[in-house]
Symmetry: C3
Subunit: 154 residues, 3 copies
Amino acid sequence: MTANEKCVIRLSDERGALIETRYIEFETDKGEVVDITDEVQKSLESTSLKAGAMVIFVPGATGAVTTIEYEDGLVADLGDALERIAPQNIDYSHNLRWHDGNGHSHIRASLIGPSLIVPFAARRLILGTWQQIVFLELDNRKRHRKLVLQMMGE
Amino acid sequence: MTANEKCVIRLSDERGALIETRYIEFETDKGEVVDITDEVQKSLESTSLKAGAMVIFVPGATGAVTTIEYEDGLVADLGDALERIAPQNIDYSHNLRWHDGNGHSHIRASLIGPSLIVPFAARRLILGTWQQIVFLELDNRKRHRKLVLQMMGE
Amino acid sequence: MTANEKCVIRLSDERGALIETRYIEFETDKGEVVDITDEVQKSLESTSLKAGAMVIFVPGATGAVTTIEYEDGLVADLGDALERIAPQNIDYSHNLRWHDGNGHSHIRASLIGPSLIVPFAARRLILGTWQQIVFLELDNRKRHRKLVLQMMGE
């Protein structure tokens, strides 16, 4: 073995995490809960990453991400819960000042949060059988949304 | 110094993050708040990682993770708060359709969220003195839980 | 080209994520919502990282991080929402036992959560135009706070 061959062998043993960024875009309706699981999984498959974690991030102050069993009943129940926590028709200082009527949207988004991180292995997101990744359109109008998917892994 | 020695020196300077995955499993009771801090710390110590961040993820739609000062008073108070936010005994569309009576469990889980990320340094999770990592069993029955710990670091 | 030159060329092709840790410290007032966006961005710029994700973590059980459009109206509205979710002047088992009167602080912190993860690219945090990163001082007194910023990227 020459000196150089030795060097190459060591290099191929070197492990190291990589970063991959993807974006997903879609149109939403007011109050919509969007199941983005398949899109997120496809984005993962478009990379060479096998194991790691994916950050799903909403760059915006009136949307949020979480997980839920995506079925009509729970989608309605989640809307009801958000209405209890931050009702639409109470006074918001934001609305008094900016007159865009979406004070409740902002508060709901801050409470749920703009980021979610989901691990993956064997190129599949590790989710429960009945667990989907959802984007919550909390704004009071249709929106075009572009989410950031930041994947870190090997 | 020969050419090859030069090469090896450069290699040993090479930094790079690694990914390590672990799982923790346990049995829960209905409504239980489980302090998983020690188990999570032990899992970190079972890797070679010194500094980085750990994702704690619940693959399931009726459990959640957060941090709390783990003492009996706050554990009770957290239950009361969840009962205010998503009461057990109101109508849920989910219950009307699926008759499993855990609509409130799902809603609470979606609001708290399935993922938490905690930094670590010197092989220790960086937590406050009175801050523990807890799994919230939000389902209305005993469960076997298996959480994913995804660590990224050096 | 000699064997060693070949080796150096391969090394410079090697990609790999790095971990960088920073801390930000500040004084807070009771109930204050602190816009930490600029400090966090500066911390990112103090590293060599170009693309990746940043974890912002509160080591403590009475503070939280989230994002919001940082304007006076919404800051007041968020306080109102937290008061609905975990009112200050109801009975908390924590207060009965420890007499520090901050049961509501702990519960609010557990509900919002101690961690946020924000992606970055081209050395800039990827945030919406009207979206700021905020620390929520939920405790019932002034505090000195030290947050952990854990950056993973390339």
